[in-house]
Amino acid sequence: MDMKPSHKDARDIEEIFGVAYEDGLTFEEAALKSDRLFVRSQDHLAFDNETANGVRLSAYQALTIFGPKKLREIVDYGSAIIPVSCSEPAASIKQRRESLGLSTALVAKKAGVTEEDVLNAEDLNRRNSMQALCRIAQTLCMDDMAIAFHPTEQNDTEFAYRLRDRGTLAGSRKQLTLGLNEAAWVIKKQLELSAPNRSAILQRFEPSSIYGDKNYPVWKQGYYLAEKTRELLDLGHDPIQSIRGLLEKKLGIPLVQLELPDSVAGGTVSFDQGRGIFLNINGGNNEVGVRRFTLAHELGHLLWDPDQKLRSIIVDEYKILEPTQTLDDQVYHDFVEARANAFAIEFLAPGKKVEAAFRSESSASAGLKKVMEIFGLSYTAARFHILNSCKTIDLEQLTSTGCSVSSDWQAQESFTIDFFKPESVPFSRRGRFAYEVVMAEEMRKISTNAAAIWLGCSTQEYQKDKETIKSLFA
């Protein structure tokens, strides 16, 4: 989109944004300075007005979604027409829902609307409430604020099929599909919001397509990549105090925590804009050592797997992450997962350091406990990592009763979900995503109304608690 104004555009800037034109002022700059709000319905965009009951957009949002030509249309006609074709948004919503294999009733329940709302949204003769459309669009991982403006792209449909296929991993297939959609929507939105401030560190990582062979076991490549990662991030060989902090703060990676079926540990999603990680807050991840391992495993996918291996989304079950054999004895069916597992353990606990820590204690059980304590590893992960690092030890020696990682690790890795406000915000949106939303709203990149819609709370709740959200992540 060409945002550099011409002479004629200078007049547009004043009329569209209500901002006095200064030499060199771009459309984007004018929009960020503008106090003006816009309001969109399913079919139209207009300047905000008291009688409208649609969704409010900031001037910057309106500009970046619809472009200056559409905003000029508002000045000329009082409103601008949004739908790209008469079948939108009905066709895209229906196509998306069917691609995901979801019923209208299930989508309605997840979106918090009635089934009639979903059926109406799929009826091209209807003019629907924008609030209901936003909820439905989010549930189906569509761009809610831009809905109907663009035709559905083939990439979107393929992504939906992959989400549906991953949903077959667990018993409650459709619940998983819905959960994955939610995670994907939050990750995508966070990537968009954080794009201007994203850390450049990730550019140092070039995905590796080496997954080992007969002479070079895959775990060795996982270990190598773990060492390389520590080097690129300048982490030395010290324990990683907070893998969550490393992901969210240092690397700027979207991390979504949400409730998924118990068998699922987490996963990695890839979009054109970047990649993100989701984590199940149910099941084994309740134990901080397991959670750290899951996050490190997903980091391995995110940093090092090429796109063709990631195939838009990877969903990992706990059983894939659970070590049951020594590295040399394992028969790998999935080299992508095996590499991520080896990466995770070596990244969290570099082998040489593990051996030193283990041997510094007088008994095997004390050594095991020390390794768990120093590196924040789960009992199972620590046992097998010691076994792999110290070849002279027997697995039977590595036992300990009542052994768990200390509460210090729990505090360092704690989720923000327990004490988050407003309480109506779903778990999946209580991470750094919430902070990015507040910052975007404060910079006028999005409206207060949009911020509340994206957090899934009311505008009043958002305004009351936005300082609390900021303080959680400051």
Partner: protein, 144 residues
């Protein structure tokens, strides 16, 4: 404010049929039916209307017609866009930044007035979401 003349395509809506109008379907999405779109205004004495795009429009300030080019900038009761399906059947809306109708009731009143001139008439309705007259049809026209 520049007002166009009869020679430039200014017409006055009288009793149906409308002579020599360009016919077409009202739009159901953006960028549709632009070449057959008329602008209209209900002035103090007359109902001027004219094709928005076409020859003799380049000299106008925005390169195509505006409602003030119909009225010369004078007050008017209402204005909008209009399509003739044939010379006795029209569909209109209230899309005008300057002369926009204030609500659904006003659109209904305008439709009845046009109907009294022997036209088969429908309007595009009111969009509560943006608090403005709708500019595209959803479904088939609801004839008054």
């Amino acid at each position: 404010m520049w007002a166009i003349t009869e020679a430039e395509g200014l017409l006055e809506l009288c009793v149906a049929p409308a002579p020599n109008v360009v016919t077409g379907c009202p739009p159901k999405a953006r960028d549709e039916s632009q070449d057959c779109k008329y602008l209209w205004a209900v002035g103090t004495d007359t109902v001027p209307y004219a094709l928005e795009h076409g020859d003799n429009r380049n000299h106008l300030s925005r390169g195509y017609l505006s409602h003030t080019n119909l009225t010369g900038g004078k007050p008017a009761h209402a204005g909008g866009e209009m399509w003739f399906i044939d010379n006795t059947t029209l569909v209109f809306n209230g899309a005008s930044s300057r002369y926009q109708p204030r609500g659904l009731q006003e659109l209904d009143s305008l439709a009845k007035a046009f109907k009294q001139c022997a036209y088969k008439v429908a309007h595009m309705g009111w969009d509560d979401g943006c608090g403005r007259p709708a500019r595209i049809l959803r479904g088939e026209p609801e004839w008054i």
